[in-house]
Symmetry: C4
Subunit: 271 residues, 4 copies
Amino acid sequence: MKRLLYIPKERLYKIIFEAETREGKIFDIVLMMVILLSILLVVLESVPQIDEDYHALLKILEWIITLIFTAEYIVRIRIVKQPWKYVFSFYGIIDFLAVLPTYLSIIFVGSQSLVVIRAIRLLRVFRILKLNRYIYAGQNLGRALWASREKIFVFLFFVLNIVIIVGTLMYLIEGPEHGFSSIPKSIYWAIVTMTTVGYGDISPMTPLGQFLASIVMIVGYAIIAVPTGIVTVGIIRKSNRTNTQTCDNCMHGDHEDDAAFCKKCGQKLNA
Amino acid sequence: MKRLLYIPKERLYKIIFEAETREGKIFDIVLMMVILLSILLVVLESVPQIDEDYHALLKILEWIITLIFTAEYIVRIRIVKQPWKYVFSFYGIIDFLAVLPTYLSIIFVGSQSLVVIRAIRLLRVFRILKLNRYIYAGQNLGRALWASREKIFVFLFFVLNIVIIVGTLMYLIEGPEHGFSSIPKSIYWAIVTMTTVGYGDISPMTPLGQFLASIVMIVGYAIIAVPTGIVTVGIIRKSNRTNTQTCDNCMHGDHEDDAAFCKKCGQKLNA
Amino acid sequence: MKRLLYIPKERLYKIIFEAETREGKIFDIVLMMVILLSILLVVLESVPQIDEDYHALLKILEWIITLIFTAEYIVRIRIVKQPWKYVFSFYGIIDFLAVLPTYLSIIFVGSQSLVVIRAIRLLRVFRILKLNRYIYAGQNLGRALWASREKIFVFLFFVLNIVIIVGTLMYLIEGPEHGFSSIPKSIYWAIVTMTTVGYGDISPMTPLGQFLASIVMIVGYAIIAVPTGIVTVGIIRKSNRTNTQTCDNCMHGDHEDDAAFCKKCGQKLNA
Amino acid sequence: MKRLLYIPKERLYKIIFEAETREGKIFDIVLMMVILLSILLVVLESVPQIDEDYHALLKILEWIITLIFTAEYIVRIRIVKQPWKYVFSFYGIIDFLAVLPTYLSIIFVGSQSLVVIRAIRLLRVFRILKLNRYIYAGQNLGRALWASREKIFVFLFFVLNIVIIVGTLMYLIEGPEHGFSSIPKSIYWAIVTMTTVGYGDISPMTPLGQFLASIVMIVGYAIIAVPTGIVTVGIIRKSNRTNTQTCDNCMHGDHEDDAAFCKKCGQKLNA
């Protein structure tokens, strides 16, 4: 810690918040490994056999990781220009919640519900997206989905309607004696069927119920094509746009692959 | 109610049937919430535990909603120019069926089958599609599917044939002792398998049956690609078509939504 | 029958083999209904309850349909110019096999295995594809799949390899005590999992097995994208081609939508 | 063997390593059949019934195949110019591991774990990809997937995160009494659900658990669209790119495979 603080603030900022320098990259990768280790800890601790055999080791690792995260959190606050902005930012809150539960566990001994808060630590993993090359790919996907949001909403709305109507029908056809004990449970069954998950914990027994189920399945099968089509078209559009050149004249950068002239100002584009 | 009827007919029409004015938007959103609440009521009433504990509350809410819907139905009839046209329109019939069951429940006490009619109330939810921005997205999807109807029909026809043939074969291979008790039931199994739902309530036991099932699954897996391809192409086409204008100079017609100049010859495009 | 044979041969040919005339369309639709009825008979006869209650009726309908099919078969032979060519054509053989089992049932009384041959009658349903508008859509789909056959083969080859390797691994990991009693059965499980059918009749119990299964599922999930992509691209290509005009000069008819010149001979195309 | 070695080295090389000559094709097809037979042996030997009945036959075939593979391996080493390069190449190592287990079985009698190594023999099947026409299709698919690797990574990363978070939540909601005995097991359930496999060995029992599961399924259903879109776009791009040449006159580069003239200006294209 001490040695770290001797490093000039600006260089430290580059190391911790950016990933362009060699030290910045090393820092990011080490941090990523510690985060993944902390997630592994939460996961492993829930396995009764492992928790029993390695309880002490898990607790020690838990404290080491918490201390590393605490140190990192403090350093981050000290080197940013506007500490409060960081503290109340998305990552700031997650970073805080990542260290909180371990300290709380001293006060509230053996509190099971702390696992819930500790699970929030998982969200730290999204820092991996800071790694340069994935930002771009992630943003592209995000924008493609965002551009199709209305179509996706309409689609989900129709699916929800079908699922409610089918659930109600199945409740009336099969009834509680075949496991369809209420409309919410029948809707749950309809979602399980429509999405082709098909647990089989509830399944139709009467011929009429099986006939309706068959229709729902085929409809669900055909309907799976719709979001696929929407997203594919969204990705095609977005990826067409991102692959191109910038106009000399108006700096517009959103041209199709085969455009010869800028579509904004009519300037001829360079090949 | 009284105050509502004092509002001039034309303004009332804009509020209830359109969504451009501020009051119109508020009306639509309030109506939507009442509709969703009415659906929630139907769903919750079917849960034995909830129906037992809150029977009186559910009944009261049921009557309040029915009265709201009745008032809305009467107002709608009074302000449209051709009342009969509305009464026999799609939404008119649904609006009527949405209020009917509660009144019928006074005459036919405890009639379980009224739930069926009450479920029709779910269809009122499609009014949400009147919200401006979703109409366009919904129509586009609808037109894309409609344009592909012949391909989808041919596809479903092949699937149905495969399913009948496979069902018959499995009935002969596995037979009633492994749950394949009749051809319709075997067809039901084939649909469950082909659509990758896979409940597991019926599953092949003999090596030959499992071999045939494996082939059906892989075929079904490959076949899922076909409707996806059809719909994707349909959406690509429709979304291309709705965004297109033609250049005056070179007649090139393949422009993006936000293009102001022809990308082939640089000619300014008409807005 | 008699009256039918009084109709001139050529007109009869148009009625039975073509669908352009009014009588031809009526004939096709009636035939289709009889075929669908005959399939329904095979299916219903397999339901023990129905077979018991309506045995006599089913037998009578069976014979009526067989006689209709026999008459149709004889007329078809008599009016085609090359009877033997029809008899040994795909539809000729199916038409023959469709009538055979009922006659054989007189000789081999109560022979269960005749259902197998009778199931061949299902194939008659493919005559529906003769209905004009579906031929085109069906051919397009068929050509799109055919054009992608090599990619699909490579894909299936990889899937088969993964399935064999995963099946072998799971046999070694889980072993007979958890239902993975042999490699073929483990391969069956791998196919059930990879295609996301997931019956649940066999499922991994050991942590290692569940870990491997998880990887297989995610791989299967990602892999489902591949045939979809292949087929979508195939359909895009074929549908681009079929939407176009024919060159005046060389009669080449395979142009893209935005082609201004024939790509075979360089002749300017008509707009 | 002796006669084979009399054939000049160069011709032998063409037969064994290439597939252009008639003998080369025959060699490849025979080898492929032997490889498939050897895989069939591994698979069949694991079926207890078959192993019991045909133990001797399986053992003899096993040795015959091993000797054929050994001979092939030696010939391959002798005719390549740089034997060591072949020995340590991907196929060289697989060819070696394919013959090893049978010889080891003499030393380590009845060693079950040899099946693991013997399973490596399955990898020999990839030699089938040497068959000319499939190389191209396979490479294209591979390149399409490779070009989309970043998007696929980001997608898998999100899926893994959702699966870990959902798994943790379900562990807290359902708990060990409903089969969600640890977080890893809950994550396994989340993967089974999200990929729409749905075994049903573990399934939510509480209303809250079923509600969360429903959301996961619908999200999973929507998310299945994303890799499909990514791969489709990847394939569209790669297949466009591999079929392209540029017009000398107008530099238009968007031509189909079979185009002889530029579709924009009518200029003859170079072959």
